[in-house]
Point group: C2
Chain length 673, copies 2
Amino acid sequence: MQFTLHQENDTFSLLCGATVLLRHSAQAPCCFVGHGQESMQMYRGNFDIEDYVDERSALRELVLEQDAQGARLSFARHAGEAPQLVFEVHARPHGVHLQLAFAAPQWNRLWLRLPAEKHEHVWGCGEQMSYFNLRGRHFPLWTSEPGVGRDKSTHLTWQADVTARSGGDYYHTNYPQPSFISSQRYCLHAETTAYADFDFRHDDFHELQFWAMPESFEFMLADSFIELVGVVSERFGRQPSLPAWLQNGAMLGLKGGEAHARTILARAKEHGLAVSALWCEDWVGLRQTSFGKRLFWDWRWQPERYPDLKAWIPELAADHIRFLGYVNPYLCNDGALYQEALQHGYLATALDGGEYLVDFGEFDCGVVDFTNPAAAHWFEERILRQEMLDFGLSGWMADFGEYLPIDLRLANGVDARLMHNAWPTMWAEVNARAIERAGKTGDATFFMRAGYSGVQRHCPLLWAGDQSVDFSRHDGLQTVICGALSSGLLGNAYHHSDIGGYTSLFGNVRTPELFQRWAEMAAFTSMMRTHEGNRPDENFQFYQDEGVFAHFARMTRLHVALAPVIRSLAEDAVARGLPLQRPLFLHYEHDHNTYAIQDQYLFGPDLLVAPVHAAGATDWSAYLPAGDAWLHLWSGVRHEGGQRVTVAAPLGQPPVFVRAGCAQQDFLLGLAA
Amino acid sequence: MQFTLHQENDTFSLLCGATVLLRHSAQAPCCFVGHGQESMQMYRGNFDIEDYVDERSALRELVLEQDAQGARLSFARHAGEAPQLVFEVHARPHGVHLQLAFAAPQWNRLWLRLPAEKHEHVWGCGEQMSYFNLRGRHFPLWTSEPGVGRDKSTHLTWQADVTARSGGDYYHTNYPQPSFISSQRYCLHAETTAYADFDFRHDDFHELQFWAMPESFEFMLADSFIELVGVVSERFGRQPSLPAWLQNGAMLGLKGGEAHARTILARAKEHGLAVSALWCEDWVGLRQTSFGKRLFWDWRWQPERYPDLKAWIPELAADHIRFLGYVNPYLCNDGALYQEALQHGYLATALDGGEYLVDFGEFDCGVVDFTNPAAAHWFEERILRQEMLDFGLSGWMADFGEYLPIDLRLANGVDARLMHNAWPTMWAEVNARAIERAGKTGDATFFMRAGYSGVQRHCPLLWAGDQSVDFSRHDGLQTVICGALSSGLLGNAYHHSDIGGYTSLFGNVRTPELFQRWAEMAAFTSMMRTHEGNRPDENFQFYQDEGVFAHFARMTRLHVALAPVIRSLAEDAVARGLPLQRPLFLHYEHDHNTYAIQDQYLFGPDLLVAPVHAAGATDWSAYLPAGDAWLHLWSGVRHEGGQRVTVAAPLGQPPVFVRAGCAQQDFLLGLAA
């Protein structure tokens, strides 16, 4: 793509077409460098992070050099000073890159300002759970636990904060990414794994902060949002298609041992529940701690909970039901695999080379060092292949990824503060390679909550992490939609969540209504999966109530009926990089009312889903984008677009609309039958 | 005092004697300048303050000029640049001043670094309620409400935060001051009213931040802490002596109208309670709001609550009992005085010159503009003199002072952000001048919670503000001691508090035990005064229980018995500027164990007071400073100093020790009788 370097009076601009990507003058410089000393405290995946910036200097002097080799931008604090920062400007097929060519070594902070417009919208920054439109806030980008409650005004958050520093805030996410899409139809990606903070609070500029110099800034541009998402998806790696067997029904998350799983499965069949798979995280056995039952983090089948699993998996397969397990990148030091890894030198060490263990609450774990290719290979072959795929698993939850401590030593010699954000993608890659080498890509699968730039290429399916079992604004059902939309724009086509939420603490427990509303939404996502939660005994399970059982069964059948739609959307994802769950503006970019909507989505071009995310609702209001008319799925009533409408929304009738006149209209309206 | 400017290799030092006050090199510069844009939101005296610093530059280049005119320090960012900051160095009798001679106009932030030592202690910064030794923390200096709970880990604080943004934090105080005393035996005072933040977290430097360029930095030095406190007290203005009538007993705070006051006074006499005064804030009448009863902010006697007050005051006086009232710098817009002030143009206006009202919760008030000398004079003569002193009041609570909004226009044309911190001292001055002109200095009195540099000269008596009615670490009884000690070091000799605390919210109510422990402490302060609290009906009052009544009566008699001690300490305050309540190290500077003690104090040189500040205590442990032996007041048992001892501490026997061998030993031990 052609770019223009424009200098007029004192002002320099970098443009692609008519879009001004960079603007600089001595009065309004675009680069600031500085020096800071950060303080970072980790407590079980939650971080307290502070910075003390002792210098921050505007680079007011810009020298532009353009010759046959290309263009270079050299920034200094004042005329006569040696350059502090030099970028090379390179044209790319879909945009322009600023490649860092030099940075003065005394600086460890960079602030880059990009021109902003007052009414501009900004989306992305990974999987954001609280705010889809990022304008008006700043977003620290550091993979971590997302927090429990995530809203300092709630009692739940306060309790989580004071008991475990785990309350979190709006920007905490398992999957941050230093990339955003602007309503000016460009995407900016910063290539770095350093701590970053993207600040969209200013009227006339965005300010991007980095705690190390990024390798490059990549601007991608397109004429429409749809094309732009395609370009972005290509940049980060197109995902494989969804395994077809996922469309056979819901994946049941059960963790009460084999007898429990067999019982629930039998009852599910009796109730007409469509089941694609069983996902039993306790296949590795349990450990009793004072906090309750925890998994035994030694990633092999343990016969005590699933004595007949070896025989049962083929039986299930004959019945078109898959079996999935659980794994994470840690190994408990009382397990056999830990000893193996230790002997081979595959574990990260303390800075002094000694043993490094992470406390997970009455048990300690080693960290497999994925920067050591031999260690990664061992994890892939010895654990994922030998103990899991060869055992018969069709996939697993690839948990964690966001916990890499920052005070350990890694084989590649890079500071753990720079590897922390890189870890989710490395973890995804380990999982993907194991499946690929087994020739099972697109069949065996795994789902992750952690992510970072490039996770798209390796992780076939995101899950939205551990929501609280409620309808709360910042940690309940609706946050899952925001997560799907923001990550979807950055090339993560497939997204799903724990039906009914996961985290039950301080007396906050799942209600039957919550489970049902969540299931109604999940039917219109990439995959339906239940989770019994962190405290199964205290929380409602679908199999405890006949009415809910029947409702859930109906939703699984609806999901199965949607299989042709999902297949076609998954093909679209492979071909064009479009997510299954799409923000409304992706298809309606001229309707600016859609730009900040984060509690509705298009499930492909023809279905609009507006999940009920409040307790006690009997009707629900939704915005229908302008330019089309919409047919309410359950009543068939037609509504013109460009307005907010209210429809009846009893349990069992999630607010869904079919685009009038679309090719699949009759098929889609038939789903209501 | 002689100072030395020392330059060796690259390092410049400013010394007085052997004390290095400033140290600078290009590698470790002492000055940073920058530019910030603050955001300040006020909600009923609580502020949310954030800064966005877009530039911060080290001034690495120092040029030292010394000639017959004196010495000048010129700082620039680099060689060849024009000076950004120039200080003149002036010797002063007790130290040295750095006078700002020039600052480049583009900077609105300054960070000054002073050399620190790892084990240095730092005290002061006004009246600090949470931490006496300031080392290891930073202290924003901005007069405000101190907060309710002041501890983000408590449920009370959280409730205050979410309902009224009023939870506060450790550094919030009605009385901040940009002055501190270092254990290196110097005091640093910054002459400015701008927002400041003193950061004592670094091992090798203190960093003082200012949001405008201070006029000067004043270093005061002395050979001992006692002398240093005297120098500091002289700098900020020596206070008048305590009125003698205060030593006649307790001042009873009653706000239930005249009949209630008469009843309680009669019962007090029956119980042998020594009473110095009645303090009835409702002398101005009440206003009913949905939050409960509030005072009517029109500062004149209203007959409906105290119909016979005119006659009663002389009767009380004949009985050696004074009567005090209440006033603050606001006028409610439905009162007569507001109209008077408005007509004269004595009220601060909106920035556009229109009427400016502050919402105090269902009633609105004007702000009397004390920067207009005519308005100040009117407040002094028309209100304080005519309506209060001439009416027969012997004093009042001069409430507020810390609420000046920052978005109004003042007669002197100075930005309200620079007048906000100045307001408490101006408010004190108005009160002091009214009393002085009436010839009643040292007889009529007033007590304030707000303060700032220079309040010492005008305010004869601090009160510790609105503690919660509990024993909590950051908002309960013990915070009063910290407040007395920190403010005392900066020349505030007299300090007291609401016996039993004031703020009762969210079900937190005063217990009889709390009242008694507080009264035991108050007996050993400048003045005993009760307060019925913000919710009198829900909280324990001393007159509701015979046992507590008797205990309190005994404490008032103990206070009366201490009158000779208090008189002598008050004379000491006038002569030497020493506070009545003294940190242990003031008399024991060679015992470093005393440097961080903040829950005990010396009441003059011969009494050590270690108030019980926990519920359910039957014994109590206290540190006795080395070099003297100490006699337990109630048992007479002798303990050697330099150790922590535990003594019985039943209700009625506050842990107090008499310095063995002091001149008053027998008298003091006799107090126990």
